[in-house]
């Protein structure tokens, strides 16, 4: 493992401009529930350049404490992803896993409300291009198998996978496992049912030359590629993730469900990204053509331009909040809404 430097640098010296906000929807305003969406980001630096970590979580409908569940999931996700760039923290985490592995017993589904569950995943891409995950107890020395890349364009040759991106993918998967475990521990210590903390989770690692995203649930991540050499002005806008649905409109996956870690989707885009948006499902009907899961460009373009001119993320967040809480948005959705916008300038 190559040595990484970890420094927190402020946004202004990074290549990105950002704006992010989560607001309570009108349904929760009426019912007196808090906003159940949560988000967070961190900027780090490693020897190959700046790294942006993003996490976004959407607490389940009217689950009593899902706002806490969402916040905790975001916290743990960012902590896990940060460890990818901090050898000491990574080692500490691995030791923690080993300890828990030796102590834990398998828990039958009905009683999963309180116990900690350990899942350590290796991601493997099958020949058909499907991501498969397998449960295993991973030793610190084990390296995951090389994972093939996701192609952006027809005919684009997949570059051989570097160890660094491989490890990032494994940290993303660990973020989901650790977030789930944290919710189980929280349910235990607060003596509340695990399902009251139900939340989706999306996390992303953005570097100047690639984007890796993990998602569980019905949020969405949309990206715009940098135009290639000699291409016209704007790169293609595309959906990175697919909102996960059961058969029915009011079903999705949450961290608190048994066996749900198998459902985590992992996407690696090995191209420089011009702009990125992550959102919770409250905005999907406004931002995407749902039947084909395509981003609606007239929604995203003005928003990306707004984010690009945002010099102060704090003030930008306030303006974004006002937008998310505007009458014209609330006419179309009564759900909580989260949006994170990142533009490479």
């Amino acid at each position: 493992m190559t040595a990484f430097l970890r420094m927190t640098i402020d946004l202004n010296s990074s290549p990105w401009r950002m704006a992010g906000a989560s607001v309570r929807g009108t349904s929760h305003q009426k019912s007196g529930l808090p906003c159940q969406d949560a988000q967070g980001f961190r900027i780090l630096q490693d020897e190959s350049g700046p790294v942006l970590l993003i996490a976004l979580a959407d607490g389940a409908g009217s689950a009593a404490h899902s706002d806490q569940g969402a916040r905790r999931a975001v916290e743990v996700a960012l902590e896990t992803l940060s460890a990818a760039f901090d050898p000491q923290a990574a080692e500490q985490m691995a030791l923690e896993e080993l300890e828990l592995v030796s102590l834990a017993e398998p828990v039958p589904p009905e009683t999963s409300g309180g116990a900690a569950e350990i899942f350590i995943y290796e991601a493997q891409l099958s020949e058909t291009g499907e991501i498969q995950t397998s449960e295993s107890h991973m030793d610190v020395e084990d390296q995951p198998e090389p994972v093939d890349v996701e192609k952006l364009d027809e005919g684009e040759i997949a570059a051989p996978v570097s160890d660094a991106n491989n490890e990032l993918e494994s940290f993303i998967l660990q973020a989901f496992g650790r977030a789930r475990r944290a919710l189980c521990q929280m349910a235990d210590s607060e003596d509340i049912p695990l399902r009251d903390l139900s939340s989706t989770l999306t996390c992303a690692v953005l570097r100047p030359d690639c984007l890796i995203v993990g998602q569980l649930g019905d949020g969405a991540v949309v990206a715009q590629a940098q135009p290639g050499e000699g291409e016209e002005q704007e790169g293609e806008l595309f959906a990175v993730t697919t909102p996960q649905r059961g058969e029915y409109a009011n079903e999705t996956y949450f961290l608190t469900q048994v066996g749900v870690l198998d459902k985590v989707q992992l996407h690696t885009i090995r191209r420089p990204i011009k702009a990125l948006a992550a959102m919770s499902d409250g905005l999907l009907r406004l931002a995407m053509k749902m039947s084909s899961n395509e981003p609606h460009p007239p929604f995203f373009k003005p928003l990306f331009t707004f984010a690009a001119t945002a010099e102060d993320p704090g003030a930008a967040a306030i303006q974004l909040e006002a937008f998310l809480n505007s009458d014209r948005v609330n006419a179309r959705t009564d759900d909580d809404k989260s949006l994170v916008l990142v533009v490479h300038v």
């Binding site: 409908g61 406004l286 053509k289 749902m290 609606h296 929604f299 928003l303 006002a322």
Partner: protein, 260 residues
């Protein structure tokens, strides 16, 4: 920073997710008189209640299958316009409207609430309940296909059965098994309601998740008020919501099953 840019963001147009509901209604001879009158009144109020919920209006889709003198899919997209209170066309008050039928076709049989015209049903004949259930299941299957073809999301469909007797058609046991299995597969939500002399033991065969309910007297109005509120809850629900339905005040779980 340019906040006006946020004003320029345009929204995508997406169709609403749908909640398909088939009402399987007993119109056999024993329903003549007060029962069918009460049922018709309740259907009218049901339509009005759902229409007053803007989201339910766009999302809930209704189909009516009657059984009595055969099994029929009722045209719920036309018929008399809703009467305006204290006025309206006197002619329509004098002429008894004819209830039209449609083919058992998933396209024709369903109407979204905003297009729903409550029919006025007649009673007579026997009780081919088994066939009605089979038809209801087929309509739902067909509707799901249409949704998938058109890229529409949908909620779990409902079949709501109301009867005041017992099935007279052969092979109803098979239909009962079919709907029971479909419910266990989470393909449908099934409610059975018995009225007056309904055979509750028979109705018990149609579901393993939910006991049939016995209506208090002819309180169809209360029943359909509950149903409209429940469908509103579903229409508004999002992933992870417990979506509790309102309490059933209009009927009881029948505990008087004999050992059959």
């Amino acid at each position: 920073m340019e906040p006006y840019l946020l004003d320029q963001a345009e929204f995508a147009d997406n169709p609403e997710p749908r909640c398909p509901v088939v009402l399987a209604l007993d119109t056999s001879g024993s329903m003549k008189g007060d029962p069918i009158i009460e049922l018709n009144n309740a259907l009218r109020e049901f339509g009005a209640a759902l229409k007053s919920d803007p989201l339910a209006s766009l999302r809930v889709e209704l189909a009516i299958v009657t059984f009595g003198n055969g099994v029929h899919a009722i045209d719920v997209k036309s018929g008399i316009p809703n009467e305006t209170p204290g006025g309206g066309d006197t002619r329509s008050m004098m002429v008894r409207p004819k209830t039209k039928e449609v083919a058992f076709d998933a396209q024709q049989a369903f109407a979204t609430v905003d297009q729903f015209r409550p029919p006025v049903l007649d009673a007579g004949g026997d009780t081919p309940m088994g066939e009605a259930i089979r038809r209801a299941l087929d309509l739902i299957k067909g509707r799901k296909e249409l949704y998938k073809q058109n890229g529409l999301d949908y909620f779990r469909p409902w079949i709501f059965l109301i009867t005041d007797g017992r099935p007279t058609d052969r092979g109803w046991e098979l239909a009962a098994e079919q709907v029971k299995q479909e419910e266990n597969r989470k393909g449908v939500v099934f409610y059975a309601v018995g009225v007056e002399k309904a055979d509750m033991n028979v109705l018990n065969r149609f579901s393993s998740n939910r006991a049939p309910l016995k209506l208090h007297g002819l309180a169809f109005g209360d029943l359909f008020q509950w149903l409209s509120k429940s469908l509103s809850v579903i229409a508004h629900s999002r992933p992870g919501e417990q979506a509790p339905l309102p309490p059933v005040g209009w009927g009881d779980i029948d505990t008087s099953h004999s050992d059959e």
